[in-house]
Structures are given as C-alpha cells and as structure tokens.
C-alpha cells in the first residue's frame, strides 16, 4: 500500500516537474497570424518583438499608464467598443446620406442609395486610426491586406463628421475624396504602429500601378506600444524569466542592459526615440525605402536616428537628396517649414526641439517636460495626463525653471506681465501657437524669443500679437524695443495702424488664416484683446476657400456667448457660406461692442470699416497651401 502510494506520489511529482519545465522552455509565442484575418494588416511577433502583453506582468504601472494613453490607440481594430462614431445617426454631405450600423461586434459604414439600383452600399470597418481628436475609419478592400479609407472622419470632441480632405489644410477640392487604397499600408503604418512592414511584393515593378499593389502588411503591434520606445523586448523577457537575475537588478539598482530605457539615454538619443515619429524624415536612398517596405524601419531606440533616416532641416536644403525631393515637388519646403526653417506643421516637434538653444547648448529633451508614463505621485486622473503627457507642474513656468534662474526670469521685471497672468507664462512668449495640424494651432517646440522682424520676414505670427490680437505690429515692436532692446524694424502704414491679427487673417495665406481663426477662439487671447470686435472677422473667414479655415472659424465663433448656438454648415455651397457671413454681421450689429477702434477696423459708429477690410482682403495671399500632417 505504502509503496504504491509512494509510486503515485513520485509519478505526480515527475509530471509536475515536466509540466513546469515544458512551460518554461516552450516558446511562449503563438503564431499570431494563423487565425488572423486575411483581409487586413495583422500583428505578428517576429524580429525579437514580443508585444506589450509580455511587459504587463512585470511592469503593471507602466503598462497601465501606456494603456491609458493615446499612443496605444493610435491604431485599433474596428469593433463596437473602439468605434467612437455614433451608431445609426445619419449625416449628409453633398446630398448623400451616411450612417454607421452595428451588427453584433462589427460596425459598418453605410452609404444610403450608393449601391446598384439605389440600394445602400455597406462597408465593414476593419481598422481605426486615431482616438484622441478624431477617428479615421478603414475598410478591407478585399484585395490582399490592403485597406481603403472611409472618406468621412469623425471628430471626437465636436461629435461631428467631416470630409476627410477638410481635416488637412489642403486646397479646395470640388469633391470629397478618400486617400488612395493602400494609403494606410504605405503611409499611416509608419508612425501609427510599432515596427510596421508594408510588404508589397509588386512595389518597384514598372508595370504595376500604385492602385494595383497588393500588400501582406504586418506590424509588431497596432498603436505605439512599449517596444516602439524601448526596442524589441524578446531577449529582455527571456532573460528575466530568471528570478535571480531580476532580483540582482532590484537589489543593485543597476539598469538592465537587455532593454533600452530612454530616460537613461543622453538628451539627444532620448529625443531621437520620439523623433523617429515626431520629425520630418526622409529615406536617404531608394534602397532604404525598399528595405523599410520589406523589413520595417532599421532604427532602434538608443541608436542615432540620422544613421538610418534623413532628418529634414531647411539649413540642409542643398543636400543632394533634399534638392532631389524639392525638385520633384516645388512646394516641398513651404509645406513643412516657415521660410526661416522653423517647422510649421504639427506632429514634428523633434524638428523644433533640435533647433532650440536649450537642446543645442543645454540638455533639454522631450522628457524634460513630457512623461510617457504618468508618475504614481501625479494626482491628476490618467485621462487628464493623457491629453499632453506633461509631467506634473509642466503647465507652469516650472518647465523652464528646471534650468533657468527663477529670480531672474520668473519676475515681472522680465515678463512685464502680472505674475499670475497668462502673459507671465514662459511658453506663451517662447513657444507660441505657430504650428498647424488636426484643425488647430499647436505650440511651436522651437523655443525662441518673439520678434516682429521674424513675423515680417516669414509671415509667422509673433507671440505678442498672437495674444494681443487687437494690437498692431508697431505696438509689439515698440514694447519689445522698450523691454528687451530688440531693434524696431521698419513698418508699413498698415502694419503701424491695423492689428497684426487682422493683417494675417485678411491678407495672409491659408496657413496664417487658419492660425488666426484658431487664435480668435483662444481664451487667453480673447481675455487680453477683448472679443466684442471679433465676430465680423470670424464671419469673413466663414467664406474662406479652405474647408479647414472655415471649420476653425466657426468653432471660434461659437466661443462667443451670442454665437454659442451658431449652426453653420461649413461644407455647404458658396451661397450658404455668404449667407452665414451676412447672418453673423447682422447678429453682431445688435450686440454691444466698443466703437472707434481703428486698429480692429471699427469706426466711430461701431461699424466695420468695410472699404479697408475689402482692400486688405484683395491682397490675400491665394497661393496654394498644403499643410498636411
């Protein structure tokens, strides 16, 4: 009896040991693509990438804060949980009606009457790009893993659908167009996934048209996941199955060399981790492009970014590769930079950072102000931190006072503004809203000092006039001269007499008009400038030829209490826009506003000086502006 019992015990123990050994030795990676759909890009764990799932158990806090960030949801598989657009709420553009429908977990985009015989045409949503400001929906084309774009984009905060071309500052187009099929596989994948590989076998063959390319697109992970910033984690995961190794690092406090920790890199290298996406980059050679198509980016965190990608800077424009690009597309530079080389499009903050003296001569990096994982000590809700991923206190002057002397710079003697006012904030003067993207103005990440001279040379709004919207360039130049000995430039009659904001708004290019349309809705500027004079000029922008400018102007207009309920069809025909403008003027005339303000073109009777406004409008810079993200 005893012997038999012992044998059973031994057998059980042996089985247990074998089971544990098998668990430990077995490859924990399952072939992710075996059961994956065949009609859209898929996630595959290869090239030493393991996915965030492997990080969660050892780094629960970091995983959780990343999970709550918009980096994770940059790309998602579309289903009932992830689609933000309202279900079965029709919307119309150009006489056609659309709606989202739900069948089980699937979400479909229906175009009423678009199918044969007036039947509805339905497309099942496969993927989503974006989750913070807007969602772009993609469907499976049925041709390899190629995705097609739904031509309407859902704005999350506004809870509104808009045509896809209206989300970018692009020249007016007669029709609503979606991106070419395959645009996700070729373009979005670069920065909206972790280690994406387009994999198009026909690419480069002369007889295959772009639209006929097939794709076997795969990524390490949808969204910007752990390994985008820490590098491939397979070795780290395997090595740290050994508890002795883990506790060795815990007790010694030494960093684990099997994984990259951006916070421990130099300020240049850590910023380049962010720069792999937040920069204007080009391939050096055609072969590099082919290499990326097949195998993904060769850049890994901790490496020098410029070794694998060309970081585009205006000062390098004579470089043969950049000359080649500029020759192919004459507007190449102006679509990305102001004429002095400061970046003017959003999402390219690294380009601004590397031109900043604090980076060049100091140790400023992205991580000086931003944290990719919310600190456990940060009292803000995760959702609040996720908006801009700023460290605690970095919304105030603390960001700069980490290095700069508060006694010298954080005083009215330097700021010339009351201590608690928005004008005393370092970033309101040194990081004004001069980049454009996703239907708004975004702070420049090239930290510099405001000058009127730069505004005259480049057309870029200076910080003074972007907040003091009712003041002239002459006023700003005089203040800068008196306070900081900045030489006052020579100004024209209009620059001395008309508010700079109106000059940019009425005679600027579409990029300047978009920035002004946004600035007239910026609370700080409205407080500093008064807002009673603004509606006629925002009304003028409701007739702007650029969809995005009209959209932003309407949004700013609704900031005024009298227009909070303003219903404006920004994508309507010309007559609708003109009628909207007239309606704004009519309503504004009935509102109290201060008369005799010549800088903002208000005469002694409180009416707009139409002749001057129209004269400035005739000077409008109508060159084609294309500020894509």
């Amino acid at each position: 009896m005893g012997d038999r019992f012992s044998r059973i015990c031994q057998a059980v123990m042996l089985l247990l040991v074998l089971f544990l050994a098998a668990c430990n030795l077995s490859d924990y990676r399952l072939p992710a693509h075996d059961r994956a759909p065949r009609n859209r890009p898929i996630q595959v764990r290869e090239d030493s990438y393991t996915s965030s799932q492997a990080c969660q158990s050892c780094h629960p806090h970091n995983y959780s804060t990343w999970y709550g960030s918009f980096h994770r949801t940059m790309t998602q598989v579309a289903d009932a949980d992830t689609v933000a657009g309202p279900i079965n709420q029709p919307f119309s553009f150009l006489g056609q009606t659309f709606r989202l429908l739900r069948h089980g977990r699937d979400v479909w985009f229906q175009m009423d009457n678009a199918g044969p015989g007036g039947q509805p045409r339905r497309l099942r949503l496969a993927m989503i790009t974006g989750s913070h400001h807007m969602q772009v929906y993609w469907y499976a084309t049925g041709h390899s893993r190629k995705l097609g774009q739904i031509p309407y984009i859902y704005l999350i905060e506004e809870q509104q659908w808009i045509p896809r071309n209206a989300t970018f500052l692009t020249p007016p187009a007669p029709e609503i167009k979606s991106a070419l099929p395959g645009a996700w596989n070729m373009a979005c994948i670069k920065c909206h996934t972790t280690q994406g590989k387009t994999r198009s076998p026909e690419w480069g063959r002369s007889k295959v048209a772009l639209t006929d390319l097939s794709f076997d697109t795969r990524v390490a992970e949808f969204g910007i996941a752990c390994e985008a910033c820490h590098g491939p984690g397979e070795a780290h995961v395997l090595l740290n199955r050994n508890p002795l190794r883990r506790y060795g690092f815990h007790l010694n406090g030494t960093p684990d060399p099997s994984i990259v920790q951006p916070a421990r890199l130099s300020h240049q290298l850590s910023s380049q981790v962010c720069g792999q996406c937040h920069a204007i980059l080009e391939f050096y050679e055609k072969d590099d492009f082919q290499q990326w198509l097949d195998h993904g980016y060769p850049f890994r965190p901790g490496q020098v970014l410029s070794e694998s990608k060309l970081v585009v800077r205006l000062q390098d424009r004579l470089q043969p590769r950049l000359q080649q690009l500029a020759k192919r597309k004459p507007t190449y530079w102006e679509e990305k930079f102001w004429s002095d080389g400061m970046v003017r499009v959003s999402g390219r903050e690294y380009n601004g950072l590397i031109e900043t003296p604090c980076y060049l001569r100091g140790e400023l990096s992205c991580l000086s102000c931003h944290a990719m994982h919310q600190s456990p000590e940060d009292p803000r809700p995760l959702s609040r931190w996720a908006v801009d991923q700023l460290k605690p206190g970095m919304r105030g002057n603390q960001a700069c006072l980490q290095c700069h002397d508060s006694a010298r710079f954080d005083t009215p003697a330097h700021t010339h503004h009351p201590p608690a006012s928005t004008g005393s904030r370092c970033y309101n003067c040194h990081m004004p809203y001069t980049t454009y993207g996703i239907l708004k103005a975004i702070r420049s990440h090239q930290i510099d000092t405001p000058t009127v001279q730069a505004s005259l040379q480049t057309g870029r709004p200076n910080a003074c006039n972007q907040c003091h919207l009712d003041k002239t360039l002459d006023w700003a130049a005089s203040r800068l001269e008196a306070w900081y000995d900045v030489p006052k430039p020579k100004l024209s009659r209009e620059e001395r007499s008309v508010a700079a904001s109106l000059l940019w708004l009425l005679r600027g290019d579409a990029g300047q008009r978009a920035l002004m349309a946004w600035s007239l809705g910026w609370d700080s500027a409205r407080q500093a400038s008064g807002s009673d004079w603004m509606p006629p000029f925002l009304g003028q922008l409701l007739e702007d030829p650029y969809d995005a400018v009209r959209f932003i102007a309407a949004r700013s207009l609704r900031r005024s209490e009298a227009f909070a309920d303003w219903n404006y069809e920004f994508f309507g025909p010309t007559q609708v826009r003109e009628a909207a403008h007239q309606e704004v003027l009519k309503r504004w005339r009935g509102l109290p506003h201060e008369p005799d303000r010549p800088e903002v073109l208000i005469d002694a009777e409180g009416a707009v000086r139409r002749h001057l406004q129209e004269r400035l409008l005739r000077q409008r810079d109508d060159r084609v502006v294309n500020l894509a993200e």
């Binding site: 009896m1 019992f5 050892c58 780094h59 815990h250 007790l251």
Partner: protein, 178 residues
C-alpha cells in the same frame, strides 16, 4: 474486568497536539480574518498605496497572504480534529507533521505579507522567499497526514472492529500487553 481508564502516553500526546492545533488554528484564523478586514478597509478608503496599479503586486501579495492564512488556519483546525481518528502511531505523525503545518501557516502567508511590503514593479520583495519554504512544510505535513489517513481501514461493517474510531486505541493496547 474493569476497563483501563488511565490515558496512555499516546493519548496524552495526541490530546496535547489537538489542543495546540485548536488553539493555534483559531488564533491564526482570527489574525488572518483581521488582515482581511484591514484589506477591506484599504479598499473602502481607496488607499492608493494598496489599490493603485503601480501597487498591483502589493495588493496581489496581501490578498494571497489573507487567503492562505485563513485557509491554513482552517487546515490546522481540520488537523486537530483529524488527529484522534488517525492510525496508532499518531504521535510519530504529529511530531513531524505538526511543526511543519504550523511552520507553513506562518511562512506561507507571512512570505506573501512581507513580499508585499516592498515591491519591485511586478516582483515582490525578498520576504517572498518564505513562501517556498512554507510550501515545502505544508507539502510534508499534508503528505504525512494523507499517508496516515490512507492507512485507515474501512468501516466496521465490512472490515471488522478495527476500522472504528476505537480501533487504533485497541491496537495500541495490544502492543502494550505484548
């Protein structure tokens, strides 16, 4: 002949172990139930040091400490109740199984508790080293007890009087007479 009412040394020892485990089981049950109440209070007051995701490991460890502590306390009580029913050499069993079981009741939940005090991300503190020691103690105690339980005969109806609760005592008496 009058039955011998004087307790044997084995009976005395068994009674001693029984009392010890009853006492130990009930008091440890009280301790670990109290720990449970403390943990519930931490939930009630939403204490970040316990509930935040960054402290997920601590929460897990202390939950395990509570669960293992309560369960092992009950095992102590079960052990105490089981002792008189086991075969003749109860004392020999108890001499080893009893300290092992008590050691396990201290080491297993204690290891989880201490392991949760200082945590390293997803790893508990070094106190967790007590857990495998406790697990080994528990394994030995349960193995010994299970073996003794296996040695029990079937009930009297099929196997005769020896399988009754008084069976071991009779065997003990026979041995002494010899």
């Amino acid at each position: 002949m009058e039955p011998d009412s004087t307790p044997t040394s084995a009976e005395i020892a068994t009674a001693t172990y029984l009392r010890r485990h009853l006492r130990f089981g009930w008091w440890s049950l009280l301790c670990f139930l109290t720990l449970g109440i403390v943990l519930e209070s931490l939930h009630g007051f939403k204490v970040g040091w316990y509930l935040d995701v960054a402290n997920e490991t601590r929460r897990f460890m202390w939950t395990l400490a509570h669960a293992h502590g309560v369960l092992l306390s009950l095992v102590n009580l079960a052990f105490a109740v089981t002792l008189p029913h086991l075969a003749a050499d109860t004392v020999r069993l108890a001499r080893l199984a009893s300290p092992c079981l008590m050691g396990a009741t201290l080491c297993l939940p204690g290891g989880f508790l201490l392991g949760g005090v200082v945590i390293h991300g997803g790893d508990p503190g070094l106190g967790i080293l007590l857990v495998p020691v406790g697990a080994l103690f528990l394994f030995i105690a349960v193995l010994l007890t299970a073996r003794r339980a296996t040695a029990l005969r079937k009930p009297a109806s099929s196997q005769g009087p020896e399988a009754t609760p008084s069976g071991p005592r009779k065997r003990e008496g026979r041995r002494r007479r010899r």
